[in-house]
Every structure is written in C-alpha cells, then in structure tokens.
Symmetry: C2
Subunit: 366 residues, 2 copies
C-alpha cells in the first residue's frame, strides 16, 4: 500500500520543537493525544541503528502530562489504578495501568509523584484528563485536573547519558531508573528522569518553558555532534524487539492487564481504594485472551490482522515488524488462550511461526 499523506491542522497540534523537527527533515508523523509525534527521519531501519548505536533526541511532547493536584490527588490516582502507589517517593515514576470498574484498560501511563499532593500522569494515547475530571467531579473530590504546560523531550540510546550529562551536569549519572532530579538549563529548573520508550537507555527532560524548546534542542545537537546525535522518535523495530507495549496498538479498552501480561502491575492483595481491583480479583486467571509473540522466518501477510487456524480466527495481530538484527518477522498477537493451551505454533500461507512469551527472548529464538 502506497504511503498516505497526513492532513495536518491545528487539531493535530504542533509542539514547541516542531520547527526544529521539520528542519531535521522529519518524513513521517503519527497523531498521538491530538498532537504530532515524529516517527520517521531517515527510514525506520536507519533510525533504528542510530538509536541502538548512538543517541537520538525525540520530540515526545505528545506524552501529555495530566497534572492532578490538591488534597485528594493521591486518592484519585489510586482510585484509577490497581497498582499500589502508596510507597512512591517524590520524583519517582511508576508504570501503571489505569483501569475502569470492569478491569478494562483506560491507558497505561507513567505516574509521577511530582510533589506532595501533586501527581503527573504521563499518558499514552487516550484522554485521561476527561476520565480523571469526570471521576473527580462525580465523586466530589478536592482536586484540580488539567493538561500541564510540559513538553517532554527524550534522549535515548547508549550515548544518552553522556549527552544529557554534558547539558545538565554531573548529577545526571546518579539518577536511577524511573527516578528524577530537578536540574537547570539556562537557569530554569526542570525534571530530568531516567526513562523513555526504548530499551537503549536514556532520559526524558520535562521541559516547562516553551521558549527554551529550540535552545535545548540546539544545545543537544551542538554539544553532541561527536556522539552522532540524530533526531528520532519511538522506533517500531526497536520497541517491538524490546517488547514495549503500545496502548491502542497491542491492547485497548477491550482488554484487561492480565491479557497483556501486566500482572506485576496489579496489586491484588493490597488494601487500597482502587475502582478496578474488585473486578480484577474476580477475573484473574479467567481471561479469554493473551498477548503473545509469534516469530516467523519471513514476512507474512495477514488478512485484516486475523490469525486463522482450521478456518477459525484464533488471534488478532496487534503489532508487526521485520527485525533487521535478528532476521525474523516479529508479531505481537492477542491470541485466544484456549488455542494457546494446545498449540505452540501457527501456520499462515504455509509459513509456520513459533508462539513465544513476551518480551521476546532472542537467545531462545535464534
């Protein structure tokens, strides 16, 4: 299928970095939280190697920060997630599914305890602001919920620490995973967290002044020239190889955390006020689907994403990519568990794929 143009308008919001993203030669975008997310600069594969070997700067402004503040902020956050947040420390990020009263996933953000009575929900692609505001209004909670004026910039890749240290100073290497420090750029303090949507290591800079967007971008590129710094974005190849889930792709509001292998983020035994926990306790172990990997030696063409066996649809392909590193076609598929109980492979158009757990274990596969 030929490439399609994205019709861009004010509704597909630009970011303070957009002029620099365009100057860097962005070729493709997706729309994420009603905002432009750069996806391709050179090509998916060239961008992949740059990310894995050097360092990239990503405009991830579309990771909107839904700020929840006020006396009931922690109560509202806990209500929304089945993960126990009570031991979070200030500056910490927690990956946590948000689930409704049936256990269905509303979003899978990183929850950040920014201060006492001040949480940021660093969201995937759905309007959590509306969900949080609706709940707060209905329950009569004493909170404010709004989309904060924050534009995250990710620095990802094996040389990311070197680059971020050059800009933000010697405190950077001491930041642990999903922890942060308030560090200064041009005299303005902003949160720098060790995090990001790749497994190549790196940081996210939570820029809080749009006037500093272009200066920050420029400084990273000027000071990182010898590190081969490039503009990039979340990379389809890298994120699938790494088994990173994407809300809306790998799962959506029809799925619960167990179906996606997110069991570790559901604290079933915690004594917390979470709206989804009663339902999740009841459905644990009874889910109909399971997200798994299916690995093929060559590219497979699915008919509207269906995986069939003996004329029955047994799975739904959610993500797929050719891995240039492992020379395998990697798919993430929501499969019927009933089928998984009796099968370890599927055959599509004569090509047999091996069913594996996620994340992919390439030592076992190759």
């Amino acid at each position: 299928m030929a490439d399609k143009i994205l019709s861009i308008s004010r509704r597909t919001r630009r970011t303070p970095y957009s002029p620099r993203v365009e100057a860097a030669g962005v070729k493709g975008y997706t729309v994420y939280n009603h905002m432009l997310l750069p996806t391709i600069f050179e090509s998916n594969e060239a961008d992949y190697w740059s990310l894995c070997e050097d360092v990239q700067v990503w405009d991830v402004s579309c990771e909107r920060q839904i700020e929840v503040s006020g006396p009931d902020s922690e109560r509202l956050i806990q209500l929304m997630t089945p993960r126990d947040i009570s031991r979070a420390v200030i500056g910490q990020g927690l990956y946590a599914p948000l689930c409704d009263e049936t256990g269905a996933i509303i979003n899978d953000p990183v929850l950040i305890k920014f201060a006492a009575d001040n949480w940021w929900i660093s969201i995937a692609d759905s309007d959590v602001r509306l969900w949080a505001r609706g709940l707060a209004r209905g329950f009569g909670l004493d909170v404010k919920v709004h989309e904060a004026a924050i534009w995250p910039l990710a620095v990802q890749g094996p040389k990311a620490q070197q680059l971020v240290t050059r800009v933000f100073g010697d405190e950077v290497p001491g930041i642990r995973f999903f922890r942060s420090k308030m560090l200064e750029f041009r005299g303005k303090a902003m949160m720098v967290m060790r995090s990001g949507y790749s497994k190549q290591g790196g940081f996210e800079i939570y820029l809080n002044d749009p006037e500093l967007a272009e200066p920050l971008w420029d400084e990273l590129f000027a000071i990182g020239a010898d590190l081969n710094v490039r503009a990039g974005g979340p990379n389809l190849i890298e994120r699938i190889e790494s088994g990173l889930l994407s809300y809306g792709n790998d799962m959506n509001f029809n799925h619960n955390p167990f179906e996606c292998g997110l069991d570790a983020f559901v604290d079933l035994d915690a004594e917390i006020e979470s709206m989804s926990l009663p339902a999740l306790r009841a459905i644990k172990g009874k889910q109909v689907h399971q997200l798994v990997g299916i690995v093929f030696d060559q590219t497979v063409e699915f008919d509207e994403f269906g995986v069939e066996s003996n004329g029955q649809q047994v799975g739904d392909v959610r993500s797929q990519v050719w891995s240039p590193r492992y020379r395998k076609f990697l798919t993430m598929v929501m499969m019927k568990r009933d089928f998984l109980n009796h099968n370890t492979s599927v055959t599509i158009d004569g090509i047999t794929g091996k069913i594996v757990d996620l994340p992919f274990d390439f030592d076992a596969i190759t």
Copy 2:
C-alpha cells in the same frame, strides 16, 4: 512545507470501509477519534467541486457513537450539555456543545435520541466515552456507556438525496433536517438521518453491520455512476466557506460556547440539571475571546498562527484556506474581543484583512 507521511498502525484504527477507500485512491488521511478519516482523494480543490456539484460518499466511521443507555441516560446527557434536550423526539439529532463545570467545551457532538433511555453521542475528536463514564461512575448513575458498533457513512452533495433514495427508497425525501428513519439495506434496518458535515445537503447512514460496509459502498457507486458519485471526505474549503466549526481546530477545551458563537445552543434560562449552566450564566458576555472570520484578497503567511497588531498578539488563527470560488483567503481566528471593539481589519505583512462575523456572508464580502 513538504507533505508528511502518516505512520499507520492498529492504534490509528481502520474501518470496515477502508478496503474500498483505498481502492478509490485515497491520498491523505487525518486521525480522528483514534481512527483513519480520509481527507483527500484527487486534491482539496477537485474534491471540493465534486462535493458542490455532484455527490460524494464519505467514510466518517470516526464519528464514533457513544451509546448511553439505561434509566439515567437522559439525566447524564443533560448533565453534560447546557442545551435543553427535554423536547427531543426519538430519531432526532441535536447539535450540542458538551461543557464541563467551568463552561469549557469538552466536545461538540450531535446528540441523537435513538430510543427512550437510549442516546447516541455522535462525537467530534475527544474521548467523550471516558468523560461520560467517569461522570456516571462518580455520580452513581444507572447507565451503560460504550462505543457502539456503528460506522457512519455520509452521502453529501446536491445529488445526495437522489442517490440515497435509489438505495433506501421513497421514504428518504420525507426525512427532515436532523431527523431520521430506520430504513433497510439488504434486509437490515439502520438509521438514515438528513445530516452531515457540509452545507451541500445530504444524509448519514449509521451502518450497524460491518459485513454490509463494502456492499453498501459498492451499491452507492454502482447505482450512482450517472450522478458522478465520488469518494470524498470532509472538505477543508467547503467547511470553512460554510462556517462549520471543527473541534480541536476552531475551538478546544480552553474555550467556552460564547467565544465560538454557539450562544444558540446554551439554554441559559432552562430549568435543567446541567453541570455547566451555572458557570455559563456567570460568564455570559464576559468572554475574552471571540471566533471571527478574517478575509484577505491573497494568501497570508502567519508566524505560528499568531495575528499581531502593533507588536501585540491579538489573535490565534485556527483554520485557514484559499477559496477558489470566491478568490479570497478565508481564516477563522480566535481574536481578543478588546481588539474587536476598536478594529474592523488587521494587516499582516502589508496585506489587510477584513474582520467579519461567522459564518461568512459572501454577498457582503465580494
């Protein structure tokens, strides 16, 4: 700026019509409610003339239908909008802003009373499902809220009535604006409403069986060949000429209905339980901004959408297009009312534009 590719994935959902849309040669999409919305087939201008002179079929599946059912459904709908819905009849559509407790616009859907205790919210681009569910949960309302399995197909243009009548029969011409009938296609009854996002006239078919998507599309094209039926989509030129607002473009969650000229859809004196009415009563007449048109004789380049006067930003360009019919550059701009009180024009790079009310009155302009 060169065209950008849209990176398409499962998150940017396909529709049951997508195979036909692709076969028809779609060149561009936008993403709307996490779903592909075709925007360009031949070109913006060629598509415009086809829409205004003949008839087009639009895949507007992205107008998702948020179905609210149960004993408290009307109460929840009324809570969400400041428009009095109490006199709606079954099968009727009502354009109505949804507003939060501050009066800010959450969405501007068409509310459809589908049956007693069963409303459809035909939404613009924000996750109203989450807002409605959050409110329902918090207020403890006895409703079900979900995204219905409905894929609207619009037939728009001066020959739309002829075409829809050929497919759905002689009851079609008797349908009044924003009224509907349940009519059959291949033995399946579905709602057909006189509505749609153009001022060229037409209908929306609320398809309720995805298996019938391609047969319906094919029938419209086969039976409408002599009418010059074409594939199309909401057209930027036509909708701006017609003064149709677009949520996320012309206004967003920072604006209230008065700022957008939606005063007629706020029933200030109604004795209804609407969460936004108290705030809207308080701010009526005090809004800081007003959405107006500014008309130029030639195309103007704005710097990041700002309208400046004497070095001060006085407006924010929300939509803009060259009108090939009127040979004017039409802009929809959120202006400071203070400026409007003292000015009837603005000058950008030496080109003076006339400030006018919306919708545009071309008899007065040309």
